[in-house]
Subunit: 138 residues, 2 copies
DNA sequence: ACGATATGTAACTAGATTAGTTACAGATTG
DNA sequence: CAATCTGTAACTAATCTAGTTACATATCGT
């Protein structure tokens, strides 16, 4: 299973919690429960998306580049998704069949619609919304 | 990549196209461009979901159990999704961390919301809608 | 300048998942 | 009873993910 979205959201929630302090990959990994290298492979993706800033060297680490209310779950989803889409389409349909000839075009349109609905939901939730959830009683 | 949703939708669109004729797995596989066994592994899932009826033996095959306008893409999506979820959650967060302690609960709620938005979009599209797309000019 | 510290990244391993394939038992038809 | 078709087991190859070790590079503080 792909846990990158969960780990990325965990990391950013942690950075929001400790803001504006810079946190190193070992500390983050301790909270996530994984290896620091797994975190260090994730940080460049979040950095390129403009969600965090990372500093190398002694005293370095990662911190949020924006306010928690300005980072949506869609930002995170897009940052860790290479291109887009978790729906795959089979690649060798039969062009001699009326269905096979157009299935790629028809299905990709449907999948775009589905991804769009997913994206709109994620766009409506921010790290600040999640922070409230983290603070409620168990 | 997971192409089961695409293949399942292809199969059902083909059965809608050839309705009410029963189609065997070899014929279906010829349209999809795969091995008949791949299709035969899919048919029981669609059958259990009540989308098709399958008959063994000579002259057998699969045919739609409902009208195309009564089969939604959500029906298909749920039929082929073992339990649920395109999102995975990492399994060993640190319970000593305020974020790690609640991350599974908070994230699963967000993921449910995202899946729900996806489901609502898929619920609004039927095999009959797709049939129109298959019939438009190239 | 230098030593300590932290990221970025390559390389490798193990495990899970997917699709494809062969083979065959069981069901159904005529 | 012979032909046909599904259901399913077993195996392979390819791909993906996470975890791990190792190290080059960058940065800070003294």
């Amino acid at each position: 299973m792909n846990t990158r979205f969960a780990v990325a959201t965990h990391v950013l929630s942690l950075l929001a919690h400790l803001r504006p302090e810079a946190v190193d990959s070992e500390h983050i990994a301790g909270s996530v429960g994984t290896n620091p290298v797994v975190i260090r492979r994730l940080l460049p993706l979040l950095s390129k998306a403009g969600l965090i800033r990372v500093q190398m060297g002694a005293g370095g680490g990662a911190h949020l580049a924006r306010l928690p209310e300005e980072i949506t779950l869609l930002d995170i989803y897009q940052a860790i998704s290479d291109d887009f889409g978790r729906f795959g389409i089979h690649d060798t349909p039969n062009p001699a069949c009326p269905v096979g000839r157009k299935v790629a075009k028809v299905l990709s349109a449907e999948m775009r619609g589905a991804e769009q609905a997913l994206a709109e939901q994620l766009r409506g939730r921010t790290l600040a919304d999640l922070a409230v959830e983290f603070q409620t009683a168990d």
